[in-house]
């Protein structure tokens, strides 16, 4: 199927078409922070920027209801609160589609012996992602180093390429992507020259990113990796705040809690972070990761070593650069990955 093309000025007309069938979310800048907001006439779409919070919030919301229940001495009635709202997120970064796939490998595994997270699964089935390709990768971006692509289609339903005055819309062939085809006078197929122009844009973007080297998974003995000097250095300045984990599109650790009042209650979950001491603190006081050093090490080794060992060598980082850009003390995963993949180049 050929991609579609329409004028940039017709973007909101296209979004309106989608809005008649689905709930549409778009990136909007407010107080200088870009986040995804519901599409309406008032807000202006702000494409191209890396939204501050990732699309993770739509798949694993910061706060998510799991169960609602009524409980009394005689009975317990539980209702699962599976999400069912169909929605489109327009203008995500292509790397975020990959992040959804990586999280899905962990939370919705296909093997028979592992349990599936039905909430994430439902969100995945109900959420349609239309990406806006990255013509100009930012200073923190390194998707090509992690196995991604500034115009990659993994995890996406469609992708838009910005040709300057016009937008090229390419569906990815997922079941629902047929419904994303522009209708009426917006339905115009791209010409050969449009496709050539798009190809050139993609090539230019990749060229920038390819100067940034590939991240390799370290094969070094884990006990050696554990004693590297880099953990001590990094922990010295690490604040142990949750910025990196909360902005990260692939960090998926969560906490679970109960709330109960007057016979009715709910069980929900919310994001948690391996940076917090409470994350692993036993109720008897022992903490397997007692200091910043162990917690920092856990975060990076989980992404760059443990996850790949379980998932065919794929690292759990898509190179969106959020943690790099927003860490108050400049802890840079690229630098750490580099020192790890130097395979024994740095030892304590």
């Amino acid at each position: 199927m050929r991609p579609y093309i329409f004028n940039k000025s017709n973007l909101s007309a296209y979004l309106k078409q989608l809005d008649t069938v689905f709930e549409v979310w778009i990136p909007v800048t407010e107080n200088g922070i870009t986040t995804f907001n519901l599409f309406n006439k008032q807000n202006d779409i702000d494409l191209g920027k890396i939204p501050r919070t990732s699309v993770k919030s739509f798949f694993l919301p910061q706060h998510e209801l799991l169960m609602e229940y009524s409980a009394s001495p005689d009975s317990i009635q539980l209702d699962e609160c599976l999400p069912s709202k169909k929605r489109i997120i327009f203008g995500v970064k292509p790397c975020e589609g990959r992040a959804v796939k990586l999280n899905s490998q962990l939370l919705v595994p296909e093997t028979k012996y592992q349990k599936q997270d039905l909430y994430f699964k439902a969100n995945q089935q109900n959420t349609i992602l239309i990406a806006y390709g990255c013509n100009q990768p930012g200073v923190g971006c390194f998707c090509r180093s992690t196995g991604g692509d500034p115009f990659g289609k993994t995890g996406l339903d469609a992708i838009v390429t910005d040709l300057g005055d016009r937008l090229l819309l390419e569906t990815t062939g997922t079941e629902i992507s047929n419904q994303l085809i522009p209708k009426n006078d917006l339905n115009e197929e791209a010409t050969e020259s449009d496709l050539t122009a798009a190809e050139q844009i993609k090539k230019n973007a990749c060229k920038v990113l390819d100067e940034r080297s590939e991240i390799k998974v370290s094969k070094e003995n884990i006990h050696t990796v554990f004693d590297l000097e880099i953990w001590k250095e990094t922990a010295m300045r690490c604040l142990n705040c949750g910025i990196c984990t909360y902005l990260c599109p692939t960090c998926s650790c969560f906490d679970m809690m109960d709330y109960f009042e007057d016979g009715k209650g709910s069980q929900s979950r919310c994001w948690d972070s391996c940076m917090f001491s409470l994350f692993t603190q036993h109720s008897l006081g022992h903490n397997p990761r007692p200091s910043k050093k162990e917690r920092v090490r856990q975060r990076f080794l989980h992404k760059l070593r443990y996850y790949p060992e379980h998932h065919n060598g794929e690292i759990s980082c898509v190179g969106c650069g959020r943690c790099v850009l927003h860490c108050p003390v400049n802890i840079d995963i690229r630098e750490i990955a580099d020192r790890l993949s130097l395979n024994g180049g740095e030892r304590g």
Partner: protein, 284 residues
């Protein structure tokens, strides 16, 4: 596919104060719905597994299952009062309803252990999965599959010993050797040793070959100091089994907190051999 966060309602049938400091209570539970019970036991429940016990409004905690699959339709848990949920659980009485998810994790490798001598060594609340194991091993349908069985149980004082009625029963049998020890006591009756568990291991255990397996459950200090005596007696690293504990929330390998290195305790464990533990990075 079933929602892994779904819980079965279970009713508290009995509450028993195990120890003199009243911090360990044993709860007997039964399923409210027979189909839940059938499902639970059809999941090839094995001694060594755990379940998540849920109190509405308070949350869930992982607890080693203290009853054996051979005690059909009966569930027993021994609970140490430590945190928010366990403190609440300690206030609950007979007849009350709570929730349960499980069985979770892997039990001890019973198929592989067939024909071996089995040494069950434990102290404190962690003895619960050993109670399950002993009940399982000593049941008529399983006893002939296993060779010698030894039990070593330790506590700080006589009043802190667990499962006193069960031990009375087990001591009467001639197909199992029972050693009970207390760290200190004011009246030595000869009923038990005086000294800690590692000391008793050194003194009482025979020298063994590769056909003997030790299952060690207890407080970290007990485990730490039991390793050397066990090695001296000839236990191979792959024949010493531990049940590891870490903070858990989801129980299905998703929430991320219980892992040690690449190993997820809640799904790949909690049972690991000493050989496997030695391979793990020092993050526990």
């Amino acid at each position: 596919m079933a929602n892994p966060y779904q819980k079965y309602p279970v009713r508290i049938n009995s509450v028993y104060n195990e120890t003199e400091d009243k911090r360990l209570k044993t709860f007997g539970l039964s399923f409210v719905n027979s189909e839940d019970s059938d499902y639970f036991f059809s999941q090839s429940f094995q001694p060594g597994q755990y379940a998540l016990v849920w109190i509405p409004g308070y949350g869930e905690i992982p607890l080693g299952i203290a009853s054996a699959p051979t005690e059909h339709n009966k569930l027993v848990f021994t609970v140490n009062k430590t945190g928010k949920v366990t403190s609440k659980l300690h206030t609950l009485t007979e007849g009350m309803l709570i929730g349960l998810r499980g069985p979770l994790g892997n039990g001890y490798p019973w198929e592989k252990l067939k024909g071996k001598n089995i040494f069950l060594i434990g102290g404190g609340c962690a003895f619960s999965t050993l109670r399950s194991s002993i009940k399982y091993l000593l049941s008529p349908e399983n006893r002939q599959d296993y060779n010698d069985i030894w039990i070593v149980h330790g506590a700080r004082t006589p009043g802190m010993l667990l499962y006193k009625d069960n031990f009375k029963e087990w001591r009467k049998r001639d197909d199992v050797k029972v050693h009970i020890t207390v760290d200190s006591t004011s009246l030595a009756t000869g009923e038990y040793h005086v000294g800690n568990v590692p000391f008793v291991l050194k003194q009482e255990l025979p020298t063994v070959d590769e056909n003997s397996v030790a299952i060690v459950c207890g407080p970290p200090m007990m485990i730490k100091y039991s390793i050397d005596p066990l090695k001296e007696k000839g236990f191979l690293p792959e024949n010493v089994l531990f049940s590891l504990e870490n903070k858990m929330k989801c129980g299905i390998g998703h929430c991320g907190r219980c892992s040690i290195g690449k190993t997820c305790i809640c799904t790949e464990g909690p049972v690991f051999s000493m050989a496997e533990v030695n391979e793990m990075p020092d993050d526990y």
